[in-house]
């Protein structure tokens, strides 16, 4: 099989988007849904085939470009190509995206049944899959940026899917604007990089021997080398999309979208785009701009802890998962940040590995949450309890996912997290400490959720909860299997920073510490939440203001609101609008008024009295003659 087939992985969802979008009031729901799911199924098969070919049929993991056309030419050297770049990480991403997409598509067939905008939903979802796939196979920075924007917009459309709910609209808007702000940095970073290197091409940029790149390190601007600046800006884009602190505020709100969307976009795929971006540019970071990489590690570590702390106090099931996502992405960023290149590249591999496993268990968590919400029509975990009686299958898969994310062996999360912890351990003990602490917190908040929802007292529900339909259960089971077994993949053999196999060994010390932390977390959660208990309330009361700060997510949202509404809107926009109307426009009007005034004042000269004109005329003539006489003599 030739790799050019990969183009169909992109074309299929695009076709579905166009078809469903244009024929949204012609097609029946069943047809549209199966069209989308079927195409995604084919795409998934193609992606797995590609992966099989790439990883098992060829000995070395070269960068391959099976397809490329010129899309837009800027200058002789700078142009945007549209193409497909296959290398270990993009192939891996292809597999992840298509698989999770397929599962979510299937799940949505059940979850969204009977919704009015069913076809619109699948249309947008296909658009998202297309954009995300295009993003990971991008051959150059600009193509990546384009799909990056497309991903952002499909995320906007999907978050705002329930467009008559004001919260959903606001959340969609917020998500788009915050990421747009980050993209501004990204774009400037791209421009800066391309200005010095004269290319957008990944193959050229990431080539460690590229002289132009090395030259950029020599040019400094405000104490930093231009390259560091450019890469930091590019990372800013990644941080926005991956909801890193302080650009994370959109992600919790984004949970207003339908739950399968959260699973696909805001857990498994889109939010890891930032990680993917850093991984894509990793050689440049690693060789030429270690300062930028330090920033990545720092932001990653900070978000990791920050989000985990907030997650412990939230009560909305999806928001807990959202903060958990942020925290897990923090892990990935941290791993990239502490990674070296080549044989020191454990962090890189670990990051990708975690991305891979996380996609499975986090998608599963969201789908499980969706299954619960589907049954209960509410999001607040304090109003749930003892659901294991009503939804046994959901309960089991949810438990598997919780164990996976908590890092209990032999579930997938354990292996990837262990690699990250080892990488952090090798680099900086503080980072290791943060990561290990967060591992404990992760276990705590996940099991807090688990116990509150599935155990505890029976609540009164409006209509008795029921197990979800088969269409929703199948994807969950598939993902659960993935969450159990993906950890055993020898990931370093396939994905590494320099495409050479990397042997990762289980670091026993680290493993023990992390498992201990996880078990500690689970135990605390068990004590607090297994049965109705007053302990959590006591503790939250004891910590008082601190607790409230955490519940209010450290007031970051409020700060943003202050900046946008008070400063930008009230102190900049309105004055500008006022200034434009009352100063600039008034000046233009003033010139008109002044002309009018002058004409009104002098129109008295035109008195209509013939003889007045006569006087003036005669005196004028006399005056002119006088002047002529006297100037002549």
């Amino acid at each position: 099989m030739s790799y050019s087939v990969t183009i169909f992985i992109l074309i299929l969802p695009l076709t579905v988007f166009v078809l469903n979008g244009l024929l949204s009031n012609k097609l029946s729901h069943r047809l549209a849904g199966w069209l989308a799911t079927g195409s995604m199924g084919i795409a998934t098969v193609l992606a797995w085939l590609t992966a099989y070919n790439y990883f098992f049929q060829s000995s070395s993991y070269e960068k391959l470009i099976p397809f490329q056309i010129t899309w837009l030419r800027f200058t002789e050297t700078l142009q945007i190509d549209m193409g497909i770049l296959l290398d270990p990480i993009s192939v891996m991403m292809l597999v992840v995206i298509t698989t999770v997409s397929l599962m979510v598509f299937l799940y949505s067939m059940g979850y969204m049944q009977g919704e009015k905008g069913f076809i619109r939903y699948f249309s947008f979802l296909s658009l998202f899959s297309f954009s995300m796939l295009g993003l990971v196979v991008a051959t150059n920075l600009f193509q990546l940026y384009m799909f990056w924007e497309l991903v952002g917009v499909s995320s906007y459309l999907l978050i705002g899917y329930y467009y008559d709910k004001p919260e959903a609209v606001a959340a969609a808007k917020k998500a788009f604007i915050v990421t747009r702000f980050a993209d501004f940095g990204f774009l400037v970073g791209i421009l800066l990089l391309s200005y010095y290197t004269g290319t957008f091409d990944f193959t050229k940029i990431t080539n460690p021997e590229n002289a132009a790149i090395a030259g950029m390190t020599g040019i400094s601007f405000m104490g930093l080398s231009v390259l560091t600046l450019a890469l930091t800006l590019i990372f800013m884009g990644g941080a926005g999309k991956s909801a890193m602190f302080p650009l994370h505020i959109w992600l919790p709100d984004a949970m207003e979208g339908p739950t399968p969307v959260s699973a696909l976009i805001h857990a498994a795929t889109m939010v890891v785009a930032g990680v993917f971006l850093v991984a894509r540019m990793f050689p440049v970071f690693s060789f030429h701009a270690p300062e930028a990489l330090d920033a990545v590690a720092f932001i990653g570590a900070f978000t990791l802890l920050f989000a985990a702390i907030i997650a412990c106090t939230q009560t909305d099931i999806k928001r807990i998962l959202a903060f958990s996502t942020m925290s897990q992405i923090g892990y990935m960023m941290l791993a990239l940040g502490v990674s070296g290149y080549g044989s020191e590249g454990l962090g890189f591999t670990a990051s990708m590995f975690h991305l891979f496993t996380h996609a499975f268990f986090k998608a599963l968590l969201f789908l499980g949450a969706g299954s619960i919400i589907h049954a209960l029509h509410k999001n607040d975990i304090r109003e749930m309890g003892n659901l294991r009686k009503h939804q046994p299958i959901t309960h089991i898969v949810f438990l598997i996912a919780c164990l996976a994310i908590a890092g209990i062996p032999p579930f997938a999360g354990f292996f990837s997290k262990d690699e990250i912890l080892s990488a952090a351990f090798a680099s900086n003990p503080i980072y290791f400490g943060i990561a290990a602490l967060a591992a404990g917190l992760t276990a705590f908040y996940m099991f807090r959720l688990y116990f509150l929802v599935f155990w505890g007292n029976e609540r009164t529900y409006e209509h008795s909860p029921h197990e979800s339909p088969v269409l929703m259960l199948i994807p969950m089971i598939v993902l659960a299997i993935g969450s159990i077994f993906t950890g055993f993949i020898p990931f370093g053999n396939f994905v590494s920073s320099d495409s050479q196999p990397l042997q990762a060994h289980l670091n026993v010390t680290v493993a023990i510490i992390s498992v201990m932390m996880a078990i500690l977390g689970i135990t605390v959660a068990w004590i607090f939440y297994k049965k109705e208990s007053l302990l959590p309330e006591k503790i939250s009361n004891m910590s008082g203001a601190l607790y409230h700060t955490v519940v209010r997510k450290f007031y970051i949202d409020e700060i943003y609101l202050f900046i946008t509404r008070k400063i930008i809107f009230n102190l900049i926009s309105r004055p500008i609008a006022w200034f434009d109307r009352h100063i600039i426009d008034a000046f233009m009007d003033f010139t008109a008024t002044a002309t009018n005034w002058v004409s009104k004042e002098i129109k008295g000269l035109q008195s209509g009295q013939l003889q007045h004109y006569g006087y003036i005329f005669l005196s004028g003539v006399i005056l002119i003659v006088l002047v002529m006489i006297f100037t002549n003599t």
Binding site: S607, G608, L610, Y615
Partner: protein, 105 residues
Amino acid sequence: MMEHVPISHVLMVTSTMFFIGAYGFLTRRNLVTMLIGVELMLNAVNINFVIFDRYLYPDQIEGHFFALFIIAIAAAEAAVAIAIFINLYRNIRSIDVEKVDNMKY
């Protein structure tokens, strides 16, 4: 026949006549009398043409023609002017120039 009269004397006479006409034009309020002033001025100018022709370029008769044309035009002008006066009188019952200022501004 005029060799004994210096040109400047003739011109003085015509200038005097001209300014008398101007005086009339500017002081009178009745439009007809203003027209009389205008006729005087035209007449003075006419004489000037003839006199310059006769004294300075006696071999030519261009001044004669100018005078002729001016007379024709003056006649036309007077006819139109008087038509206007009559129409005006019909409309506002007066031919006082100070009342005719409807078209100011």
